[in-house]
Each structure stands twice: as C-alpha cells, then as structure tokens.
Symmetry: C2
Subunit: 140 residues, 2 copies
C-alpha cells in the first residue's frame, strides 16, 4: 500500500477533510486495481483505451515519459489485456487497443472502484451541486 500523500499537520478542519478524502480515494483506487491483479498505473492506462490510440498520446495525457508508457503497455500486453498494432498511416507509430479480455477487466475495475460513486451517493442532489461548486471554486 502506497504511503499517503498527506502532511501530518492539519492547519484547518477543511484541509484535514481534504487530506482524508485524497487518502481514502487513493487507497480505494489501489485496492480496486489490486483485486484485479493490476497496479494502479496499469489500471489507469487500461482505462484510457476506450479507443485505440498511440503511445505518445497516452504519455502526453498522463504527463509522463514515453518510455514509462512503453513499459506499462508491455506488461498489459503480456497479460493479454492490450494489443500493440502497427499504425498503417505511420510505420513508426503503434496503436494500442484493449483486447476483449482487457475490456472485461477494465469493466470489472470500474465496478470495483466504487469509492467516488458511493461517496457522492451519500449526498442529496442539492448537496452534490454544492460540493461540485465548492470544489471548483477551491481548485481556482
């Protein structure tokens, strides 16, 4: 289990609530991935392949080095969850796509990661709107 990204000093109640939220969220994500024998990074990449796309597009969207994606995709491929096909338009590039098994695992992950759904579900529609507005304002 990854260590929390959370300072111990909580200068306000609101900050403390944010810390708790992030902590619980991250752990829930990790747990859901682990139930499917995936790392968080693998679950993340798998979830971005609703349409086939190039390695570079993944790296850019996820804000990491291309070689990082190469390795994660290689492991997903070894697990049979993803294929790496040549791009007919550009023979340098590869198109990554989920296999049927990848689709199924991704769907099971989305089902297993209930945290956000559950948390939002504890609020009334009005409260949900309030929370959304407050978070958007806080995010600037």
């Amino acid at each position: 289990m990854a260590l929390p990204n959370r300072p111990v000093a909580t200068s306000s109640e609101t900050e403390a609530a944010l810390f708790d939220l992030v902590d619980v969220y991250d752990r829930a994500y990790e747990t859901a991935a682990a139930e499917l024998s995936l790392s968080p990074a693998q679950a993340c990449v798998l979830g971005r392949l609703d349409e086939r796309r190039g390695m570079g597009a993944l790296a850019e969207e996820l804000g990491c080095d291309a070689s990082n994606i190469t390795q994660i995709v290689a492991r997903l491929e070894a697990l049979g969850l993803v294929t790496r096909e040549p791009n007919p338009r550009d023979r340098r590039a590869r198109l990554v796509a989920r296999t049927p098994r990848g689709d199924e695992v991704n769907h099971r992950f989305a089902t297993a990661f209930t945290f956000a759904r559950t948390a939002v579900g504890r609020l009334s529609p009005d409260e949900q709107d309030q929370l959304t507005a407050l978070l958007r304002k806080a995010l600037g």
Copy 2:
C-alpha cells in the same frame, strides 16, 4: 510524475470534481517533495517525526510493511535528515528522530506544499464550513 489514480469515465459532475481534486493534490504533493529532492514517501515519513518514534509505529500508521519503512528511513538517514538511535528500554527497537537539517527540510516542505492552503483560502469561512461538512458526509 506518477500516473493519476483517476478513471476516465466521469459519471457525474461531482465525481469529476473529486477526480480533479485528487489529481491536482497528488501532483502538488509530488512536486513539493521533488523541489527538495525528496520522494513523496520520504516527505511523508519525514513529516511524521515531530516526535521520535519507533519503526513499527511508523509502519502501522502508514499501513505498510515494516521493511518498507526500514528502507525509506535508511535513505533519509543517508541524506542526514534523520537518525536511528537505539531504544534504551528495548534493545530490539530503534527510535527515529529528525536531525536539525531534517527539521529544516520538513519545514520547507510544509511551506512548499501550498495546495491545500491555497485551495481552502479561495473559500469564505462559511464556504469552508460547508465544504468540510459535505466532505465528511460523503466520506461516511
């Protein structure tokens, strides 16, 4: 930069706002640590040493294996930010404590990690109370 713990499908506006919050928070934490040449895990452990304490206590609080703490503390020690003294009451145990340099780096980290402070600061006191209440309710 760590890949986001974030599903791509956003079934509601509120969930999307939660995703954004967690994403921005985690990246801010990582960035603040990196400015001090610390990993997020190192910053996390350093931040829990306001008082000297044993390895086991750290492992339990952070919910990870003791050997993980052994390694992180060893690196912090190599950086001169932490000491590992023998526990006079129990010669099996070690007491971890920040050095003066560790105190300074920890303080600089707390200063550099402005995200939560800044975000909360964008809200009025009333809004802060509302957000706290909503988050607490959502967390169950």
